[in-house]
């Protein structure tokens, strides 16, 4: 059986990536691609790599979109603009994966704290499931409303949950390095090539909005965590370096066991070897274009300090890939459907 999908924000960076995935998905077909600004234009006029996909399908505007019958709607729209779209689809009984930040947090209080204004529909926060199948696969299967993930959040959560759920994280300093696609398809001074090129711009010294998701999913206290962001010279990719003070001294073998158990049966989670040393800690380069999250670690000889490094492609595991993975579960499909593409390495 083939399911029909609507993609909102289809002219954007994350929406474009949903299109790219669905172009090869065996069971989900793009029924409508929504864009106000590109309304009536062919999809390839915006996305040159989709030139021979989707035939003569054109972008449609919001009103037209709601007229199409679809099984699932992907919302890759700016945060704050998803709620009203969600409401309409849920009313119609259409399942929704919302890649924006609108329903990622469970607590309305947290939402207000991190996003600066009260949530317009707190009930949605309660019914929505945080869309990380590695943690919430079961709930996602039974939900009609699933959030996407913050790309930096996904990177951190996937790298840290094996430690966090054992209560091993006493204090943690997180470095995240991100590529330019993370900021979307709209040019700004910061994305202007002469300035963005080869940058090492440190732009959030202590926290980032995605921290809200990390705290929620890993049950950490805010005061035990800092998070520093750096924009680096890549287009795709997010990499977490987590400098951890463990709550107790552990042996390396125990950590290995923890991670192996946690990642077992998680088709997109990979564990790096301990040797050779230059492959011990992953980089986004190794997963570009794929839905994989790759994690490596190393333990200080004092048994208390630890470095965990995780790498993802922000548009895949950090956005569209995880969204399609969630939708697979919501539609009763195999989690990996349409998502087994290999990383492109080296690139």
């Amino acid at each position: 059986m083939t399911f029909k999908a609507a993609i909102w924000g289809a002219s954007g960076m994350a929406g474009g990536e949903v299109l790219r995935i669905l172009a090869r998905h065996p069971d989900i077909k793009v029924e409508c691609a929504v864009s106000k600004n590109k309304n009536r234009q062919f999809i390839w006029q915006t996305h040159p790599h989709l030139r021979d996909e989707f035939g003569t399908l054109t972008f449609c505007d919001h009103d037209e979109a709601f007229l199409k019958e679809v099984d699932i709607a992907f919302l890759a729209v700016p945060h704050g603009t998803a709620v009203s779209v969600i409401e309409k689809y849920l009313e119609k009984g259409t399942k929704v994966v919302d890649l924006s930040a609108d329903v990622r947090l469970y607590s309305a209080k947290d939402y207000e704290k991190w996003y600066g204004s009260p949530h317009p529909n707190p009930d949605l926060l309660i019914s929505a499931v945080y869309g990380l199948p590695e943690l919430h696969g079961k709930e996602i299967k039974e939900s009609n409303l699933v959030s996407g993930v913050g790309c930096n959040a996904a990177c951190c959560i996937l790298g840290l949950f094996p430690l966090a759920r054992e209560g091993l994280i006493e204090e943690i300093r997180i470095e995240v390095r991100v590529g330019s696609s993370e900021a979307g398809a709209t040019p700004t001074l910061g994305s202007h090539h002469p300035y963005r090129s080869r940058t090492l711009r440190v732009y959030e010294p202590f926290r980032h909005r995605h921290l809200a998701e990390i705290l929620q999913e890993l049950s950490l206290e805010e005061d035990a965590v800092t998070m520093t962001m750096t924009a680096v010279e890549i287009v795709r990719g997010a990499q977490m370096l987590a400098h951890i003070r463990l709550s107790e001294k552990v042996r390396e073998g125990e950590i290995w066991r923890l991670y192996k158990n946690a990642y077992r049966d998680k088709p997109f989670l990979q564990l790096c070897p301990a040797k050779p040393a230059h492959l011990r800690l992953p980089e986004p380069k190794m997963v570009t274009g794929s839905n994989q999250a790759m994690t490596g670690f190393t333990l200080h000889e004092d048994g208390r300090r630890m470095l965990v490094v995780t790498a993802i492609d922000n548009l895949m595991k950090g956005a569209a890939g995880t969204a399609v993975q969630a939708s697979n579960l919501m539609l009763g499909l195999n989690e990996t459907e349409g998502l087994t593409m290999m990383p492109v390495y080296p690139v």
Binding site: A183, T186, T188, L189, G190, S191, R201, Y203, E204, M229, A231
Partner: protein
Amino acid sequence: MSKFVNCVVCEGKVEVSDELLEGEIITCPDCGSELEVISLDPLTVAEAPEVQEDWGE
């Protein structure tokens, strides 16, 4: 003769013109903070809310 006021962020000396007005925004040349003149006598400044260029992050 020039007047000075201390920057509330970096505690540096900021030279100000004689024709300073209440409510005027001056920029500290050391640390770049925008300072709003909230009183002229005594000369007092407070940090003004930052209006950022859109650097897109």
